[in-house]
């Protein structure tokens, strides 16, 4: 059956065969398994602005067009040179030369995915920054990405976008030969779907009623031997914790001796030596002594200060719901009628058990997670009635489901790090290689603003010295970095462009989908030695 026919077959047959996905789902199948339909929807409604249509810029765009962003604009006032045509896959090898670069690149990029819209804007960003209308246009995107922009322009652009708390994040990319870096500028980035690998608490020491009831109802001495070997470890631990508390004034095992004793109690319950569920319970006993009511990472978010007023910013409107939910979550953990913990997660890990017991346990967790979620929602409504009415119910569900893994990132304006001499000095000590490369690239940006022919090793070194301040020792690592920069200050190698295109687009997707944790600061890349690092 050909793929073109699948639609027709779908329409022509009964409801059963409509379980087959549509063309869009099929096209995006492999990525939907990473960020799901909600991530895809966010991508499809995004509008991306890219400054320049260099090989790096078009590589970044390629990786955003393929997964299906909604719309892109390329702002570029240059015409295609032979060097451009030789290293940029999204220009025609001959015909593009001498024509506006962005205009040549847009149709080739759009060919990658017919559902993505795109436009070329043949203007200079400096011109747009100079008018009210231009500034409005620049701030009207979901994300702005700039490659190798000169320093005064980048400063002006970053200041414009930073001044508006609801404005788009700015990704500033700089590359020279085998060295590169990029910085993502945002005031705040909130993530509920971090896709963290750490497992949420199973609440073994704070069991919910139905779980405790099951554990207490088990008569381990007098039960069917097959069933005995299939009791999930969670239930075994809940039962033993309950018994331990009754004989220890309500306390958990604390000392090393007590912990050892607790573990030996688990193994003593075996009726056959090959009962793996009891071995697993012993191996998982650590959960009993380190099960915080609220993970410290999340506890820290409850105490998060408001954004500093000096940044001329308040909480962006788009994060208002997230912060209201966070506030509700703090309240939930303190509520005397609640569990004193984060809402129960319905996710269970893999464990030794039979299908029947596992499904029973899974259902208990699922049902109680639902109970606590409803309680959370009531609290939300009581504390934030307006937002609770307007909030997307799915957003609330997602937040509760992921409440063990929430993250709030606070960012800095582009360039702020270089002005903070103390921070730069610290960074030079902690991460000399990364910091030296960053400073070399900063120096390059400064020098290129005047005259490209002035980019010599000596000029770069003195520029770096003026950034860090006179008298500050420069690390050896700087020599290699400025050597490479001086060798090829403006070369855009297809290979580096491809690599950066992947890396930058990946972070842009994380920002747009608000899934996974994007990096924070300057990501420095050295492909001579194949390393990356994050500083600032």
């Amino acid at each position: 059956m050909s793929h073109k026919e699948s639609q027709n077959i779908e329409q022509a047959t009964t409801t059963v065969t409509t379980s087959q996905p549509d063309d869009k789902t099929r096209r995006y199948d492999r990525q939907l398994r990473i960020w799901a339909a909600s991530g895809q929807a966010a991508l499809e409604s995004s509008r991306v602005l890219v400054l320049s249509s260099s090989a790096t810029s078009t590589s970044i765009l390629k990786n955003l067009v393929l997964p299906g962003i909604g719309h892109f604009s390329i702002l570029d006032a240059t015409v295609t040179t032979p060097a451009d045509a030789g290293n940029n896959f999204f220009l025609h090898a001959r015909e593009s030369i001498g024509k506006p670069r962005a205009q040549e690149a847009v149709p080739l990029l759009r060919e990658l995915n017919e559902s993505v819209q795109g436009e070329a804007v043949f203007k200079d960003v400096k011109e747009l920054l100079g008018t009210e209308q231009g500034r409005d246009w620049l701030t009207g995107f979901s994300i702005v990405i700039a490659h190798n922009l000169d320093k005064p322009t980048l400063e002006e652009l970053s200041t414009l976008l930073w001044s508006n708390p609801n404005g788009p994040p700015l990704v500033a990319v700089r590359s020279a030969g085998f060295l590169a870096e990029f910085h993502i500028q945002y005031h705040e980035h909130c993530v509920s779907q971090t896709h963290s690998d750490t497992a949420p608490s199973l609440r073994i020491t704070r069991p919910f009623p139905a779980l405790l009831e099951w554990a207490r109802s088990l008569d381990l001495q007098d039960m069917d031997p097959t069933n005995h070997g299939h009791i999930p470890f969670v239930v075994i631990l809940v039962k033993l914790v309950d018994e331990w508390r009754q004989s220890h004034d309500g306390n958990l095992p604390k000392t090393a001796a007590e912990k050892k004793e607790f573990k030996s109690k688990i193994l003593a319950l075996k009726i056959k030596p090959d009962e793996e569920n009891f071995d697993e319970a012993e191996a998982q006993a650590w959960r009993v002594w380190s099960e915080p009511a609220v993970p410290s990472d999340v506890q820290a978010l409850f105490a998060l200060p408001p954004l500093p007023s000096t940044s001329n910013a308040h909480t962006p409107e788009k994060h208002a719901t997230f912060h209201a939910l966070l506030d509700t979550l703090a309240e939930f953990t303190k509520d005397p009628s609640g569990p004193g913990t984060l809402p129960l997660s319905a996710t269970l890990p893999d464990m030794k058990s039979d299908t029947e017991s596992y499904v029973r346990l899974q259902n208990l967790y699922r049902q109680w997670a639902e109970v606590e979620k409803n309680k959370f929602k009531e609290l939300f409504k009581a504390k934030h009635p307006q937002l609770a009415d307007s909030a997307n119910p799915e957003e609330v569900d997602t937040f509760v489901k992921n409440s063990h893994h929430l993250r709030v990132l606070r960012g800095k304006q582009w360039g702020a790090f270089d002005k903070d001499r103390e921070a730069v000095a610290n960074s030079l000590m902690m991460a000399p290689r990364e910091t030296a490369t960053h400073l070399g690239l900063s120096a390059l940006t400064n020098l290129l603003s005047s005259d490209a022919s002035k980019v010599t090793e000596d000029a770069l070194r003195s520029e770096v010295q003026s950034i860090v301040g006179e008298g500050v020792d420069l690390p050896e690592e700087l020599d290699a970095a400025i050597g490479e920069i001086a060798r090829a200050p403006t070369a855009d190698l297809p290979n580096m462009a491809a690599f950066l295109g992947g890396l930058v687009a990946q972070e842009a997707i994380k920002m747009i989908t608000e899934q996974y944790v994007p990096l924070n600061g300057y990501c420095v890349v050295d492909l001579v030695d194949s390393w990356t690092g994050v500083i600032g």
Partner: protein
């Protein structure tokens, strides 16, 4: 043209840049990584590129394999990619080949024609094959792989760094035969049954399993069970015939599907129930009733204490993630894959993510069986499972869910079955772009011979450190691939005997006494082709048979293993006689000089155990712990290597990492982590 290459010359330097146009590259794979890589090497200026891929383009490739468009679907990946990419650099010669890299014409001689090989493969079997060929031909190789946001690049150079097989790769999951055939307890068991047992039985080759059963009987297996299996096999004959015959009349169009249904979900289950012993300590399955399900009156009355496993006819497609690590690995239900794909997050959701009721599954079973039967009648000989073939995916989904229902196991949506049965690895353009960029860099290091710059590079899941680069490890002295001594013979396999080859390679000329080779080289040897024993010191039956009659032909290897374990194994690649070789000339051209296998270093561990005896893959029900192999399972590596090499696979790994590992890549958690702690590390210059 000087303008075009300005960037590349500035960065690579004139010397390397000039050499690139003469460089011959073999790129194996034109998929996610392959497309990115082809673009990079075309733009960088590699002059001669051979691109090989056996696959055709599918719609689900288009979110990342950017050299393809919708109009190219169903066409050869290699051909289309070559055509699209060559437009970008008129100076590059791209030779596309639509073929499997394991075909005999791609022999050692052919590999030797390349300066470097770049792997962009998606399966373990092909990766190992290319690795071995590169070891034999002594050609540098860059190996790579991605899974979602994770990826890895590994440069490989014989004798200087670890080869792909120096670190053992985890073997694919297997399940006991009886778990699959009679006592499933998790969704994955039912999916494997539908995909690897039922599909081949109904739509695969008509294999006569009688002889296997005879053999099993001779070996004294349970006669009652063998009788039951014979009966089952006979009944399959009838339904196979029904599927291949034209439908009698309109009204009974579902008769063949119903026949299949009644056999596997009713008759076979009744048959199993008759063995009362099996159900003493576990809940028995329930036979399904075709008409009652269709009429909506079927009620599953399972004697389940908790009543919530399968008590109603409505499906519970998303109710369970199962409960063993095996399934977890296959299902990949770690935080970042299936969790992301649950319908809850998707709002309107995706059509094939919805739960299927028992009735839905029955109708899907009927419609997919009919579609597959129609294809058989239209001339297809056999149909096997393919995740991108909707008919087979529907069939496996429906059959697995029906079986699950009978056994009280939660069902799965089509979306989930696709991932579990198809071993789907999530994939996006970004990671492939990153990896492809890194591959070219490692290729530069190899071509420049700046071996100290080589790195194993990982793209990892850490916002503070997206890449980790690890210095190269020396070869594992116990590696069963790269520590062997490679040589090549040119011969006509129809005219040369095993003994002629072995004696020739070992320098035991016909006129020379066996002991006259001055004590150099092994005395008593075993000879293998892959895992087949062809001769050993006490067994010479095959000595005078021709290579062809032993199925040792072009592109294959004869392994000559020293019985005493003192000398390294000699791997003899079989090549074709040169085209200008006279027809009446010698049928065998020996290498000159003859290979001199080094004495093995004093083994760190005990003497290597010999390779295991030859095994045949048999589906017969043997001992209770006999295992059925997953359909795509590559063959296990020879035991001696698995035992000697450090066991890195034992520790727990998150699911995506596991996926990558199953595909043959070892993921380390940090750059500091070393694969082995070897005191006598050899510095690479």
């Amino acid at each position: 043209m000087s303008g075009r290459s300005r960037h590349a010359r500035a960065i690579l330097g004139e010397e390397l840049y000039g050499r690139l146009s003469e460089t011959k590259v073999l790129l194996v794979g034109a998929g996610g990584i392959g497309c990115e890589l082809l673009k990079n090497i075309v733009l960088t200026g590699f002059g001669h590129i051979t691109l090989l891929d056996l696959d055709t383009i599918d719609l689900s490739n288009l979110n990342r394999q950017f050299l393809f468009r919708k109009k190219d679907i169903k066409q050869s990946k290699a051909m289309v990619a070559a055509k699209t990419a060559s437009a970008f650099n008129p100076n590059v010669k791209i030779t596309p080949i639509h073929a499997n890299i394991k075909e005999p014409q791609f022999d050692v001689e052919w590999f030797r024609g390349y300066d470097i090989v770049l792997n962009a493969l998606d399966n373990l079997d092909a990766r190992r094959h290319v690795n071995k060929m590169c070891m034999a031909a002594n050609v540098p190789l860059v190996e790579s792989g991605t899974a979602g946001y994770l990826g890895q690049v590994q440069p490989i150079l014989k004798d200087r760094a670890e080869c792909f097989d120096c670190v053992p790769k985890p073997t694919p999951k297997t399940f006991p035969v009886c778990t699959i055939r009679s006592t499933p307890s998790q969704p994955i068991h039912c999916i494997v049954w539908a995909k690897s047992y039922l599909m081949p039985q109904l739509f695969g080759e008509d294999e006569d399993s009688g002889s296997e059963l005879d053999e099993a009987e001779k070996q004294g297996e349970n006669a009652k069970e063998i009788a039951a299996l014979r009966k089952e096999a006979q009944a399959f004959k009838a339904v196979r015939a029904a599927l291949r015959s034209a439908p009698a009349e309109e009204a009974s169009s579902s008769s063949a599907a119903k026949l299949v249904f009644n056999k596997v979900f009713h008759g076979d289950i009744l048959n199993l129930l008759s063995m009362a012993d099996m159900w003493r300590s576990r809940a028995p399955p329930v036979p399904l009733d075709f008409d009652a399900i269709r009429a909506g009156t079927f009620v599953l009355n399972r004697p389940s204490q908790n009543g919530n496993t399968a008590s109603t006819a409505s499906g519970q497609a998303n109710s369970s993630n199962g409960s063993t690590s095996t399934e977890k690995a296959l299902n990949g239900n770690g935080a970042s894959t299936s969790t992301a794909a649950t319908p809850a997050a998707g709002g309107a959701g995706l059509k094939d993510q919805r739960a299927l009721s028992l009735q839905d599954n029955l109708e899907l079973f009927v419609s997919s069986t009919e579609r597959l039967a129609a294809r058989l009648r239209a001339g297809e000989d056999t149909i096997s499972f393919d995740k991108d073939d909707d008919d087979t995916l529907d069939f496996v989904t429906a059959a697995a869910n029906l079986r699950s229902a009978a056994y009280g196991i939660p069902g799965k949506s089509r979306w989930e079955v696709k991932e579990m049965a198809g071993n789907i690895i999530p994939a996006i353009a970004t990671t492939n772009a990153i990896i492809a960029g890194l591959i070219v860099l490692q290729a530069f290091h190899l071509l420049r011979r700046s071996y100290s710059s080589l790195r194993n590079v990982h793209v990892q899941f850490k916002p503070s450190m997206p890449l980790s680069a690890i210095a190269m490890c020396p070869p594992n002295p116990a590696c069963g691939v790269c520590r062997d001594t490679y040589t090549e013979i040119l011969c006509d396999p129809a005219r040369v005997t095993l003994k002629q080859v072995v004696d020739g390679v070992l320098g035991r000329g016909a006129d020379t006494d066996m002991d006259s080779n001055e004590g150099e080289g092994p005395e008593e040897v075993c000879v293998y082709e892959d895992k087949r024993v062809l001769s050993d010191p006490d067994w010479d039956d095959n000595d005078n048979r021709t290579l062809e009659s032993l199925n040792v032909t072009r592109g294959k290897f004869l392994s000559i293993v020293d019985e005493d374990g003192e000398y390294a194994t000699i791997q003899v690649a079989i090549g074709a006689l040169p085209p200008d070789h006279p027809a009446d000339g010698s049928a065998l051209i020996l290498p000159s000089p003859l290979p001199k296998p080094p004495r093995r270093q004093k083994p760190r561990v005990a003497t290597p155990s010999p390779p295991p005896p030859p095994t045949t893959t048999s589906k017969k029900r043997a001992a209770p712990d006999d295992e059925i192999e997953e359909i795509d399972a590559p063959s296990a590596k020879r035991a001696r290597k698995d035992e000697d090499a450090p066991n890195v696979a034992a520790s727990f790994t998150p699911s995506k990492k596991r996926r990558l590992e199953e595909d043959g890549l070892i993921m380390l958690d940090t750059a500091e982590e070393k694969i082995e702690e070897d005191p006598d590390v050899i510095e690479i210059d």
